[in-house]
């Protein structure tokens, strides 16, 4: 009988037959072979299904399921994790993978070693190369919370320095991810997840270029609203994102008390307030602040 895998790649797919083969091959070529892939397809097409079937015939580690109705990006990301966990309930580590980026064959080997070696680390992610249509650029900046024992310090660093859109494609410890609550129905759900997760442990940025990310478009809140939700956009998404994230944190850490036993409700309330302060400061000052994006859209 086959041993259950330690790692699960959850792929929320959305109609990229042009890049799917390349992505799947990059995953199937991992030097660390102890993994399974669960693909949940939010826009099933014959082309995608044919590609997946071809690779399923070569490798039994792939599971494919087409969604009966469109879930939207948040729903699909959430489902990739939840469905993956249903199929492989004993996994230790989880990673979301897109259907168009590329993972270096050593990606898993290196990141699993990091998480195995450092039990205090809840997420590890590598350096990346940005793949533009006609050129590539190496992003060598490092940003993590390694060695920071104070949750406030980690929270501050996660908010002020980390690029959530890259870090969310790291390798997560499953138990920490479950406590942090996967993907929520807010704008910038990746940032919200990482902020909450930072309270439960450290992030480690590995100085090796192991992920190649396709750059498709520029960030905008309108684009996010269209992509993240399947039908009606919730009204609360028109509230500034730091406030949306604050609400989620208060709900989780104060009302539900999900911080326990690591920290109590009072501490949770304090962390939520700190998040609001740090995030507001960042939003006001940072180059990619949401209000700049709103202004830019209005000017257009």
């Amino acid at each position: 009988m086959n041993r259950p895998p330690r790692v699960l790649f959850g792929m929320p797919a959305y109609n990229r037959p042009d890049a799917l083969s390349r992505t799947l091959e990059s995953l199937l070529s991992q030097t660390c072979t102890d993994f399974a892939i669960v693909i949940v397809d939010d826009q099933p097409t014959a082309a995608v299904r044919a590609i997946v079937e071809r690779y399923q015939s070569l490798d039994t580690r792939i599971t494919y399921e087409a969604n009966a109705t469109r879930l939207g990006m948040i729903g699909n990301w959430h489902w990739a994790f939840a469905r993956g966990l249903e199929i492989h309930p004993t996994i230790e580590y989880f990673a979301w993978v897109s259907d168009h980026d590329m993972w270096h064959p050593r990606w898993l080997e290196v990141l699993v070693a990091e998480l195995d070696e450092h039990p205090e680390v809840v997420m590890a992610y590598p350096q990346m190369q940005r793949v533009f249509p006609r050129e590539r650029r190496a992003i060598t900046r490092l940003s993590d919370t390694a060695g920071m024992t104070s949750p406030i310090a980690r929270l501050r660093r996660a908010i002020s320095e980390m690029t959530a859109g890259n870090a969310v494609y790291g390798l997560f410890r499953v138990d920490a991810l479950e406590r942090a609550g996967v993907f929520r129905g807010v704008l910038m759900p990746d940032r919200q997840l990482l902020v909450e997760l930072s309270l439960f442990g450290e992030f480690r940025h590995v100085p090796q270029m192991l992920w190649y990310r396709e750059v498709a478009g520029v960030f905008s809140l309108t684009r996010q609203r269209n992509m993240l939700f399947s039908d009606r956009v919730p009204l609360h998404t028109y509230v500034p994102p730091p406030l949306q994230h604050f609400g989620i944190l208060m709900w989780d850490l104060v009302v539900r008390g999900t911080g326990r036993p690591t920290f109590g409700r009072m501490a949770g309330a304090w962390y939520s307030l700190c998040q609001l302060w740090f995030a507001t400061k960042r939003e006001v000052l940072h180059d990619d602040a949401w209000w700049r994006s709103v202004l830019a859209t209005e000017q257009k």
């Binding site: 083969s21 390349r22 091959e25 990059s26 199937l28 070529s29 030097t31 071809r54 690779y55 070569l58 490798d59 590329m102 270096h104 064959p105 050593r106 290196v110 590598p126 190369q129 940005r130 533009f132 249509p133 006609r134 050129e135 590539r136 650029r137 190496a138 090796q208 270029m209 192991l210 190649y212 750059v215 478009g217 520029v218």
Partner: protein, 384 residues
């Protein structure tokens, strides 16, 4: 009055005594400085002399190695002629350029690096003046590489066998040195060399062509726990096989003609360098290949020969491919990329730069400078 005169005389006498004492002191200090300078000079002379003796000893041993290598290469040559390998014009020119090495004497081998021009195009004569345009460019590139953190990937040009170049902080470098360093940086940025540092596992690296052996030496210096396989023109082994043995006197080298082809990779983990002629490359059976390196060799071949090499690497389950395109090889770049693409997913590795112009979607990127090489890393395909 008389008191004041006596006082003045006393002061004058005192000043004179002080002056004399000061002069004596200065003379002693000067003598000491002279002695120290002489000692330093002597030390420097002794160092240079011992260096010269060491280089002479290397050259002497290199000539002995050369005589052995030449016999092996002669037999490889016969094997190549039998198999009728069709060389390109570029390769034929290289073979002609290396022809004097078939009858080399000890003096020629002592200056072997000066005979590498047919293989690399780098001429010792260009390094005579420190104020040339080349000197300025290389100095700038070296500084940039160091600023970008490539310290631990820089290996200077050895002075053995007539090594040449410009000197900075006592380190010798030339165009090849920097090109190899950039290659190592690209391999690092492609996340291919980290396992060679971190693991005790013996790996096998295959370089196609091998040039004059310069990159093999750099790689082996940084990552000693590898068996380095070179396949290519037998004539080039007259340089590379002799050069690597000169730089690694304790290295265990094996020529294709040393053993029957079936036994070539016997106890491969104990061998440091293996030299195989191109005609045997497509049938050789190494137990593993971890990385295939093409330092602008493929672009000098016909498409069929390119494809045979890439396919061989794929069939040997070699996980990674690397191709370097020298600045003057951009014409053949797309042909090589196409062939590599058949078996490996290609990933261009951007060269390190001081500053990037902001990337804007839909806007053409800046063209690559004429002096900049390009690097391509390939990941083995599952289905090819």
């Amino acid at each position: 009055m008389s008191t004041s005169k006596a006082e003045r005389d006393r002061l004058r006498l005192q000043r004179r005594e002080e002056l004399v004492a000061r002069r004596v002191e200065l003379k002693a200090a000067k003598r000491q400085a002279d002695d120290e300078r002489a000692a330093r000079k002597q030390e420097e002379r002794a160092r240079l002399e011992s260096e010269r003796l060491a280089l002479d000893a290397i050259a002497e041993k290199a000539y002995e190695d050369y005589l052995v290598v030449r016999e092996g290469v002669r037999r490889m040559r016969e094997c190549e002629d039998r198999n009728g390998v069709a060389y390109t014009d570029h390769e034929r020119r290289a073979i002609e350029g290396l022809a004097p090495l078939w009858t080399a004497n000890a003096e020629m081998i002592a200056q072997l690096r000066r005979w590498c021009e047919p293989l690399s195009g780098v001429r010792a004569a260009d390094y005579a003046s420190e104020s040339s345009e080349l000197a300025t460019r290389l100095k700038r590139e070296l500084s940039m590489l160091r600023r970008q953190g490539a310290h631990d990937l820089f290996v200077q040009e050895s002075r053995a066998l007539g090594g040449f170049g410009f000197e900075k902080h006592g380190e010798l470098y030339n165009e090849d040195t920097l090109l190899f360093c950039k290659t190592l940086v690209a391999l690092h940025d492609g996340a291919l060399v980290q396992p060679y540092r971190a693991s005790d596992e013996r790996r096998l690296v295959w370089e196609i062509g091998g040039g004059w052996g310069g990159f093999a030496c750099q790689f082996k210096t940084l990552f000693p726990n590898v068996t380095y396989l070179i396949t290519g023109l037998p004539d080039a082994f007259l340089v590379s096989a002799v050069y690597v043995q000169a730089l690694f006197p304790d290295a265990r080298c094996r020529l294709f003609t040393d053993m029957p082809p079936a036994d070539l990779f016997q106890q491969w983990k104990e061998i440091d360098f293996i030299f195989v002629p191109e005609s045997a490359a497509t049938t050789m059976q190494p137990p593993r290949v971890d990385l295939a390196l093409d330092l602008s060799t493929l672009c000098q071949m016909s498409v069929d020969r390119m494809r045979a090499h890439v396919r061989r690497a794929f069939d040997l389950r070699c996980r990674y491919w690397y191709s370097l395109f020298r600045p003057d090889a951009s014409a053949a770049e797309s042909a090589v990329c196409d062939v590599v693409n058949e078996c490996y997913w290609p990933h261009p590795i951007p060269a390190r730069r001081e500053r990037w112009a902001p990337a804007v979607m839909g806007v053409e990127p800046e063209p690559r400078p004429d002096t900049e090489a390009a690097h391509l890393v390939g990941w083995r395909r599952v289905c090819a």
